[in-house]
Symmetry: C3
């Protein structure tokens, strides 16, 4: 599955909705046992949540948007399919979350590409289930400082701290992802799926149990004037960068 | 303590029963403060649970067998003695569990020897307390992919991921295990035992609280025709290999 | 903030009380956003809890002392400030706890300096919240063997197992700590603080919920004749060492 939402594969409400529908189709297609997530946009895997969805919109819009983000994570983290992230570009915030949510992460070994949950740099706090997913992958100490600093780790560092499982030259990324997928698909589905569920259930259950509360938290946080202001400044900065 | 149940030290009901009785004797012997677990069978530490105990037997037999597996783990994981695994051969599935349950793991640095919880390869799911013990040793990310893939890690890789604490040349394994034991026995028993209990209590309590449920789960899983079939096929394959 | 309580910066009741007052002042001073903890005493960061406070005193004294230890940890682990430990000397037991409680640990790369929770060597058991803090930093496996052995890790080993984040030559320690502090202070306070709270809340809440129970445990443990005896022997040994 290739993300193709130029210019930066940001996770807009439309993108998320379409992503969930595609995932569901594949999930119900018995011929499809695995999915490789990668980007069709050069240098960017996904730039994360679309800031325009979080800026100057109504409470109802924020709620709808946040439920779509939750839905995407819930479906992907609990997927019965083998999920491999072929990270062929930078992957901040929500882009990093997508990679963390897969079974295996391979990244192009380009030190210009970076990955991380950098929410703190924007004055935002990553929600608890981003944090839980991150801790499951890199452990508590690394997660604690990385989240507090909002670190974007260049590919070699991301590999060193375990945030990605493997680095390969960019031109070999697709082949390697396919080889990894073959290796995972060699296992009997049923045992693999039950094992995955066993490993991830505690963290999945936690969001399911607090889902509406998490939506309300997001709304009240994102509606704050100070947060809106810092998001507007960030968007201005991005616009200037482009021009 | 040397495992000697040729040809492969598989954990049969008899073996487990005898193992628990021996452990209990040592536990109650105040002169015995530590035990080194190793194998008297060349190239195999332990091949894990005896598949013949899980194939074509009665529900009562499955229940009795599974309680014996639980009992072995409960006694060994909560042992007041210092427990050192001197892994002098391959150690799949239940063999790996025994090593994980010790305080310290030393492995012969022979790359032909491998160790891991490879249940998924047989279409079986490792129970939650195998998983909890594994996560305590190697962390969540490594446990998640290793369990899903049913990986058997060659000794050097097992060392790299922390599944064993140390590699030594095979001929030095015994001496090194003895030296490690001396180091651990230099500590005052009481503080060491309370510390061990503190570290392991949460995981031990979980099985104690769900023990009967876990037996029922095992029975209903192992009784499935599909599982019985795949175990029979696996046994056929082993027989052919031998001849 | 420099610890200056010669000869070894041991954590006496007076020291802890003063430390908590100083921390509170800084915490309430809006101009102060971070604190670097280091020692003014050569070769020792802090030698840990003052044994004279735990030896031959009244039950009331033990209770008061233990509450002060808890208070220090609760304040430091939940501090809104950025906390950096510049470990410029050895740091056993409670000294190690202080370092573990910070956001980031830099240690002088002198292999003669060591750090660890060595309580077990004195026949004492580290309380559960020392253990929780330790597990958050080094993970379960390393914490389990390090606590059971009461290991004091030389600086290079401490770095290898993740107990300290970074080693620098002793003469550069102050500059490096300042540079790290600048990096952390570049982040917006609010998001950083909320992230820290999210990461540490579970472990903090556990002590808050069991605080009085933990005091009683300490009193009954420390009042045992066997423990008192081993502490007296340890103090004798220290005195002989000095003379």
């Amino acid at each position: 599955m290739k993300f193709k939402s130029p210019p930066v594969n940001s996770l807009s409400l439309d993108f998320l909705t379409e992503f969930c529908i595609s995932l569901e189709k594949l999930e119900n297609d018995r011929a499809c046992r695995g999915v490789i997530l990668t980007s069709a946009v050069p240098k960017i895997f996904s730039s994360g949540l679309d800031i325009t969805e979080m800026c100057g919109k109504s409470t109802e819009h924020y709620a709808e948007f946040w439920r779509a983000v939750q839905e995407m994570w819930l479906r992907l983290y609990s997927s019965n399919m083998v999920t491999v992230a072929a990270v062929n570009g930078s992957s901040p915030a929500g882009g990093c979350l997508i990679a963390l949510t897969c079974d295996y992460r391979i990244m192009a070994e380009n030190p210009k590409f970076s990955i991380g949950l950098n929410e703190a740099q924007l004055g935002i706090v990553a929600p608890f289930w981003f944090k839980d997913t991150f801790v499951n992958v890199v452990g508590h100490r690394v997660a604690e400082s990385s989240l507090q600093l909002g670190s974007l780790h260049p590919a070699p560092e991301a590999h060193r701290i375990g945030l990605v499982d493997e680095l390969v030259p960019e031109e070999k990324l697709k082949d390697r992802a396919t080889a990894v997928m073959q290796q995972w698909l060699a296992l009997p589905d049923h045992a693999r799926q039950l094992t995955k569920t066993m490993m991830r259930k505690a963290v999945l259950d936690r969001l399911v149990a607090h889902r509406e509360e998490d939506v309300q938290n997001f709304i009240s946080f994102i509606s704050k004037e100070s947060i809106q202001k810092s998001l507007r400044m960030y968007m201005e900065m991005l616009k200037k960068k482009k021009s």
